[in-house]
Symmetry: C2
Subunit: 420 residues, 2 copies
Amino acid sequence: MTKRANTLTSGRPTVVILGGGFGGLEAARSLAQSPVNVILVDKKNHHCFQPLLYQVATASLSPADVAWPIRSIIAGQENAAVIMGKAIGIDMTSRTVSTSSGQCIPFDYLILATGVTSSHFGHPEWAKYAPGLKTIQDATLIRGRILSSFERAERSSEDVEKDKALTFVVVGGGPTGVELAGSIADIAHNALARDFRNINPASAKVIIVEAGARLLASFPKGLSAYARRALSCMGVEVLTNAAVTGCDENGVILSNGRRIASECIIWAAGVQASPAASWIGVKGDRAGRITVDEHLRVPGFHNVFAIGDIACSNSNGRPVPGLAPAAKQMGHYVACYIVQDLAGGLAKPFKYRHQGDLATIGRKSAVVSLGRLRIKGLLGWLFWSAAHIYFLIGARNRAVVALNWIWEYVTFQRGARLIN
Amino acid sequence: MTKRANTLTSGRPTVVILGGGFGGLEAARSLAQSPVNVILVDKKNHHCFQPLLYQVATASLSPADVAWPIRSIIAGQENAAVIMGKAIGIDMTSRTVSTSSGQCIPFDYLILATGVTSSHFGHPEWAKYAPGLKTIQDATLIRGRILSSFERAERSSEDVEKDKALTFVVVGGGPTGVELAGSIADIAHNALARDFRNINPASAKVIIVEAGARLLASFPKGLSAYARRALSCMGVEVLTNAAVTGCDENGVILSNGRRIASECIIWAAGVQASPAASWIGVKGDRAGRITVDEHLRVPGFHNVFAIGDIACSNSNGRPVPGLAPAAKQMGHYVACYIVQDLAGGLAKPFKYRHQGDLATIGRKSAVVSLGRLRIKGLLGWLFWSAAHIYFLIGARNRAVVALNWIWEYVTFQRGARLIN
């Protein structure tokens, strides 16, 4: 148990990876047997399993159930070291990354995998009222806001205030938005049903607002329609073709002029890439992402790559989606590319294999699109649950998450109802 | 599932309980079948199982594993309502409690169960450097500080800085102090053993500082001596007869003049009662606790009680200790007292039955003192584990905590290593 890996072997080329998300972690692990030193830099000490973050935000799971120390994950990998630190700049002349704690990390190859944050359509001032869901901190903040809204309603003596406190707005009709809206409806109808004396939590209004024509735009139309019906059955009001044009402490204003009074708005719409593009002096796309070539290299550099959500890339003539499996494939590809490059060869271009789309809608209901296969309802939900437990890191997290889901399924309760 | 309890029955006498800890909660539950209305007020939405809080602070358990929504706990109790709010004053003339959100809660009986916070021997400025462990927030803060210390040591290039970062000081040799010191030593020797490249986490120094002559002063001397030996075997330096006379960002200064350089100091020494005494205009004792009569009534009032850590009371001529079982017994007693008072009778004086003392020292080791029974080592640890799981609230928490402990026992890992 007490054996420690040696410090890195000197003389080997160094691969520095910025970001310990799905892409960065996969790149690091894929280089385990290669004659390189790997340095993984992340401002957090943990990898976050983002697909289940909405369950932390809605009190089903604890932060530690969907997060895992990056050091632990690669503790056994002798050619890798982890630096907890925030990258703040890259010097391409000296080939070094600098961090906010004053470190200077030299590299031979650099993999940018710093991901995205929420973007509020050019209105950063909305973030205060409508937090996005990208980190553990976001999730516990949102959890507190949702639960506090019911407390405020219970305390309130005026109907207008009560209604406002019991109105929840989710902006964005992608998987995260759909999952959040379904979960909040479930909290109101089930988890809190017996807990209050002055309000009926089931009278809460949950509204999902999507600027496009349908929910789950990346899914087949049939599954989008199913998701809409399923959410409606759960009491969620689904607004499509409705853009948010204003957002403040009183609620949101929609493009059709409607005002929705709410103190609990959650942002699951646009994303903005982290500032890695500017660090290396390239121009990002509208969302700040770095356009890469067919080898996921940043144009102008043979040794700098961008992967995951921060990369704007194409495969088979179509854009690669911002999904965890895509990030992992990119991480694995770049690791292989570097190994071949060191051997003097050139890897084939990156090819993205789409594994499918999954989203839960609520208790016992999910939509799954795998190639030509379409699954919905309970069967979809079972598939979704099994897939997510399989992809979690670590036996403990798998067991705890499974146990929580079974318990929640049986009791209708949610185990992590903490207001911090 | 969706049945809601009615609002409270009008015309019944109202018992207001301030504080949803062990005492307040037990009082509320004990009144479930009585012809009164119960209003439980707490500034948090959750009851915290304080005896296991040190396991949150040392990354073994998640906050939600040791906390439970107060509303859920008494959701089924039709004569009880919960108000989440911070009490800020009591008007004994109008018999009302006021809260920070502007509510005014009338009572016929009032039970003060607001507990204690950490006290730094009259030096509130030390709290910043040496946080106490009383709430979930304290626990996650301390967890972050412990884990960050290892990160700082790993980053550091100077030996003096490294040593300082790897020195942990626990002030106070009671059960919480002993449990924290043992757990930090276990983190250093086991959980982090393989994770770093520039430091050996096992070289961390853990020092426990106790002003009195021995650790665990409330336990029999033999168990105190065993605890000292067991901690020493785990590499913990035990300092007794050593008071802290100074504390700042550089570490602590002891009464014997010794300076210990440390950036991670945890306070498990004195406590200070919450300000309830001043709300009702009585003079608290040195720790701010309210001295009560043999019926746990506040002198001068026949309808106001103080229970749990905030009460200074005697039973059989000896002071009642600040333990969870004592608080529960007091809560139950006051509930019975009120019922008898309403019926025109007078209850017998409160009698505390001491159930025993328990403290873990580390993996596979605990000390247990039950009447004449003394258990230590592995058997004590098994007894301690079983007792704590039994007293946890809710099947989910029991299952999750048991699963975490088994996993930790087998793998030597800790499942909640998050730096927030």
